[in-house]
């Protein structure tokens, strides 16, 4: 399954911020069910807000993982805040900007802003404010054992990061 809700990473600054883009497409299956037409209303396809949170979690999760060169298994542990200002319709682009608020051995907290870009007009409007907490699970789950390989940062994510413009000098 392709569980990747960001398309491109524009910027990745260690322990500071990560900026990612997501194009919302009518070809995505989820939009067909969210929301389909009914007897008294035509279809209203929008990217579900939980998937907007997931996009931010992937953006911020990469930022938190990158802080320790992806040695930690970084798991979304808490949605501290999620406030939405608009709906993400097909043909629009979401820009996620995640920043680290706090970082410790056991986890990290991030703040994030999601903006909606209209590629036609170039206009950018606020979409959501999303604050998250991540756990470094190997430090927190006393007694529980996890596989040694990092199952969080799969090749789907690492390929996004392995781009010439993101390599540190």
């Amino acid at each position: 399954m392709r569980w990747i809700w960001i398309d491109r990473i524009l910027e990745l600054k260690r322990r500071e911020r990560c900026v990612a883009l997501k194009n919302v497409s009518a070809a995505e299956d989820v939009l067909a069910d969210h929301f389909p037409a009914t007897a008294d209303r035509k279809a209203a396809p929008v990217l579900p807000n939980p998937l907007i949170i997931e996009g931010m979690a992937q953006t911020a999760g990469i930022l938190v993982g990158h802080a320790n060169d992806f040695q930690e298994k970084v798991i979304l542990a808490k949605i501290a805040k999620a406030v939405f200002h608009a709906a993400a319709r097909p043909g629009f682009t979401i820009r996620y900007t995640a920043t680290i608020d706090s970082f410790a051995a056991s986890g990290a907290s991030t703040s994030g802003v999601a903006e909606l870009i209209d590629p036609h007009t170039g206009r950018t409007t606020p979409l959501a404010d999303i604050a998250l907490m991540f756990s470094h699970i190997d430090h927190n789950m006393a007694g529980l054992e996890f596989p040694e390989h990092n199952f969080v940062f799969t090749s789907q994510f690492m390929d996004l990061i392995d781009q010439p413009h993101l390599r540190e000098g």
């Binding site: 808490k78 608020d101 706090s102 410790a104 056991s106 986890g107 756990s135 430090h139 006393a142």
Partner: protein
């Protein structure tokens, strides 16, 4: 600059409102973080992060405020019950905690009841006025 207990309490109250999504009037000194305010394990890290921001200059090490590692140590816990050595360790690590009820039950499950708003306030008072 020294802070009064009331000043610290008000800031702790704000931290808990934001971290746990509770109302101001729920955050009384006697309120228990888990039983009364619904805190879960990840919230403890969130609270630590927020306290460090609310009180600039203080640094809280992992396990300092919430020494849960004590309960994972076989020296301190035997068959779900806290040993004498475990109680002694908790008294050292949490000098302001009311440990009377825990001492009576010795049940690991009761450990979270020790964490009250008042305990947080006293912990922060020590830090800011150190």
């Amino acid at each position: 600059m020294a802070m009064s207990e009331q000043e610290v309490f008000e800031k702790v109250q704000e931290v808990l409102e934001d971290a746990l999504g509770v109302d101001e009037d729920e955050v009384t000194p006697q309120a228990k973080l888990e039983a009364d305010l619904g805190a879960e394990s990840i919230d403890y890290l969130d609270i630590v992060f927020r306290l460090e921001k609310a009180f600039p200059g203080i640094k809280i090490e992992q396990g300092e405020l919430f020494p849960e590692s004590v309960l994972n140590d076989p020296q301190y816990v035997d068959d779900g019950k806290i040993t004498d050595a475990g109680m002694a360790e908790l008294k050292t690590r949490l000098p302001h905690a009311e440990l009377g009820e825990l001492d009576a039950s010795r049940d690991v499950e009761d450990f979270s009841n020790v964490f009250t708003v008042d305990l947080l306030v006293k912990f922060v008072m020590d830090k800011v006025n150190a």
